[in-house]
């Protein structure tokens, strides 16, 4: 992958992580919640989610300035790992909370189970696919260079 293309992707993903990170921090500090379409700025530990997203955004963006090819890519992988931790834990939480039922029922009804997955979701969930593609590209390129 050309360096310019890679830098462009880093800036795109970096901004996509940085902006919601800042918003999550701002909403925590002002004590407000906000939903925009399927993206929700609410829930437990929002401050810490904001910190992690903000930091991962900064990592993607500062990676652009690394002259070392490996360090640039490693920093992008680190930022992606941080997004996966936040997004992954949210997915786990949604899955686990969709199983038990309420009102005297041990397990959730089929309708209740599926409605748990209708959103809205925290911003990190939406960053999962793009960060995953980025990491796959990075390791794919490393394998190609080794081969």
């Amino acid at each position: 992958m050309k360096q310019k293309t890679f830098n462009f992707i880093l800036i795109l993903v970096g901004a996509s992580a940085l902006i919601p990170g800042i918003l999550e921090l701002l909403f925590t500090l002002t004590g407000k919640t906000f939903t925009w379409g399927e993206i929700a700025f609410q829930g437990e530990f929002m401050f810490w989610r904001g910190v992690v997203l903000l930091a991962s955004g900064v990592f993607y963006l500062t990676a652009v300035y690394h002259t070392s090819r490996t360090e640039k890519r490693a920093q992008a992988v680190l930022a992606s790992l941080m997004i996966w931790i936040v997004g992954g834990m949210e997915i786990l939480s949604v899955i686990l909370s969709s199983i038990p039922g309420d009102g005297g029922r041990w397990f959730n009804s089929t309708q209740g189970f599926f409605s748990s997955y209708t959103g809205p979701f925290i911003p990190a969930i939406f960053l999962l696919p793009i960060s995953l593609v980025l990491v796959l590209l990075i390791f794919g390129e490393e394998r190609k260079n080794e081969g």
Partner: protein
């Protein structure tokens, strides 16, 4: 087999020849990634992400089992059944084993077979499993030494070094292995300091689980105050306790993917320890407090200690009973506290007092045992008690003062 030094070195050379590969190191993304996790700019935010993941997993996993299944199991099935089926209602025997016959949930019943079982199995067990699962994965992945390197500078300010983070993290599961692991620290001073700080300021996994389950809205404040206490009293102890705090060098292993067999084996050993060590103490704690209630000892102690509790700490005198239970199990004590009527700030203060007033009996026994390697049992015991009394009055009183200044007491 005993080897002479010469033979030992020859054996080491032979093992090294057969196992070590020499050559130029190639910088890969994986090795650079490993380096980034120990550099403060990238390492600290990554550590925050790991800790976030830790607590989010803890919450989701423990919440799934406790709120999803154990609460309905104990409240809707077990409690009504045992209240109905157990004979001798109104007798002291019924009171100790089943508790309040009119209680509608397992927390309020407060019998050995109701609240005792519910706290031990329904609340604490899922929290312990979640905690040890994450800790084992972090240990096996090679992340723990990286965390030690990251916090080294901070811990040096209080006379400890980065590897002191291992007993700290272990104590977040249970203070007993935490205290036992202080033997890996270099000097008697460091071991003594760490044992005291752990047993006072680091709440165990069971207590964390109960706090997250019953008072999640105050959890952050309580942890922040305890962590501040850890560093303030660590700094004081470092100035007061004689001895040295040497530098250390450590080897940071590469990242590895933990294997399911290793993780499950370690997890089983740790959870088995919980079943044999902790559950009997929880049941015993409930029984003891019930007996003390029956003979009037709790009321007597509440009246005697009442002025100190209300005047110095700003908490109701009814918190005496949880404090007594806290000597056996802190998680049980926090569960009891949540049933007492008081303001949010009083609840925060009470939980802080429960955490710092005295280690649980299992930790206390371990401090005595480990004290032999840390300057002598009497010295450690005397120093511990002196520190405990000072901490509980100063740190507990300071919290009351903060509340008064903020106008929230």
């Amino acid at each position: 087999m005993k080897l002479e030094p010469e033979e030992r070195w020859r054996l080491i050379d032979r093992v090294a020849r057969e196992t070590v590969q020499y050559g130029a190191e190639k910088t890969t993304i994986k090795s650079t990634l490993a380096e980034l996790t120990v550099k403060p700019f990238t390492g600290i935010p990554f550590a925050i992400a790991i800790l976030y993941g830790f607590w989010a997993f803890f919450n989701a996993f423990a919440g799934f089992f406790t709120d999803g299944f154990f609460v309905p199991l104990f409240d809707d099935l077990w409690l009504p059944w045992i209240q109905e089926a157990f004979p001798l209602e109104g007798s002291w025997f019924y009171y100790i084993l089943v508790g309040d016959p009119a209680a509608t949930n397992s927390f309020e019943a407060f019998g050995i077979l109701t609240s005792g079982l519910f706290v031990a199995v329904g609340v604490v067990l899922p929290a312990i499993v979640a905690f040890y699962l994450v800790i084992t994965v972090l240990e096996d992945s090679g992340y723990m030494p990286r965390l030690a390197v990251l916090v080294d500078t901070v811990l040096h300010k209080i006379g400890l070094h980065g590897f002191a983070v291992v007993p700290m993290i272990l104590s977040l599961g249970c203070n007993v292995p935490g205290v036992a692991s202080t033997r890996t620290l270099e000097t008697k001073k460091q071991r003594f300091m760490m044992m005291i700080l752990l047993s006072i300021f680091i709440p165990c996994g069971a207590q964390l689980g109960v706090m997250l389950s019953l008072i999640p809205e105050y959890f952050g404040y309580i942890m922040l105050y305890l962590l501040a206490g850890f560093f303030v009293f660590g700094w004081i102890l470092n100035k007061v306790v004689p001895g040295s705090s040497p530098e250390i060098m450590t080897d940071v292993p590469p990242f590895r993917i933990p294997t399911i067999s290793n993780v499950s084996r370690k997890l089983w050993v740790k959870v088995k320890g919980f079943f044999t060590n902790a559950i009997p103490f929880v049941l015993l704690g409930v029984g003891l407090v019930n007996i003390l209630y029956l003979v009037g000892a709790i009321d007597w102690l509440s009246n005697i200690l009442g002025p100190v509790f209300t005047g110095w700490f700003g908490i109701p005198k009814e918190t005496v009973a949880p404090l007594i239970a806290g000597f056996l199990r802190k998680d049980l004590a926090v569960a009891q506290l949540s049933a007492i009527e008081m303001s949010g700030f009083q609840l925060i203060t009470s939980v802080v007092i429960i955490s710092i007033y005295f280690p649980c009996i299992a930790t206390f026994s371990m401090i005595i045992k480990e004290g032999r390697n840390s300057g002598g049992v009497l010295k450690v015991l005397g120093g511990s008690l002196l520190t405990l009394v000072t901490v509980v009055f100063l740190w507990g009183g300071l919290l009351h003062l903060i509340g008064m200044i903020l106008g929230v007491t």
